[in-house]
Symmetry: C2
Subunit: 139 residues, 2 copies
């Protein structure tokens, strides 16, 4: 397969692990070094694999059922760096709540040892869902 | 100068243009192609230089005085791709409001023609400012 296809496949594996709350699969997607970085919507950044793993464990321990629809997925490959941009639409079902939320997400992977390993997941909440709504809001 | 130093210098120029609401300086920091991407806190993503420029014009037209403090700035260079991670602490002064907000930010630059040009600015609001607060919240 082309590296671009492999990149999008690895990105898909990331969301599969996320939906299934599968820590082992999630760990296999990531690089495990002190530089990797993960930003869940609204959270402070976690840096380094130990902190990133702890964040995933907290997410998965929450027990919410998450179902992702990925929109406008765009992959760009620059030599050994792969960047995937997308909009996540997440149906989030908890004990007492069911809501659909949107994020803008940047995922970065490094091609190393014949495979793409995630080094950044940056997901941020979209307050202004309509792309035409350009009011500058912080919240 | 080393490419790493040039990367951090270009990142600093970006924030200088932002603080001064200087569209010309902001335009000179960015690559101008259909792939560049900009996500202001809470906004939908803008893709392509025309949309990115329109977003900056909307931000600057807002007329708010912004003062940035940058924390935990980390630059990584992968060949011609430069990634800068940081926390923005922004003092935001409008007509009727003054607030300090925090973001987690990922800035990506491409080294092209002897200089780093921005291809991604992804700034997301931090709801849980305390890095120890791992409650998973979307909002």
């Amino acid at each position: 397969m082309e590296t671009q296809e492999l990149l999008l496949l690895q990105n898909a594996r990331f969301y599969e692990a996320f939906e299934h709350a599968d820590m082992e699969a999630m760990a296999s997607v990531w690089a495990h070094d002190e530089h990797v970085r993960c930003i869940h919507p609204g959270w402070a950044a976690a840096t380094g694999w130990e902190a990133v793993r702890a964040g995933w464990e907290a997410v998965f321990a929450g027990g919410a059922a998450l179902r992702f629809s990925l929109r406008n997925v765009r992959g760009r490959v620059f030599d050994r760096v792969g960047v995937v941009f997308l909009r996540e639409e997440i149906v989030f079902t908890g004990d007492t709540v069911r809501q659909t939320v949107g994020t803008e997400t940047t995922n970065v992977f490094l091609f190393d040892g014949g495979e793409w390993r995630m080094v950044l997941h940056h997901a941020s909440p979209v307050v202004a869902v309509d792309a035409g709504d350009l009011t500058y809001r912080f919240n």
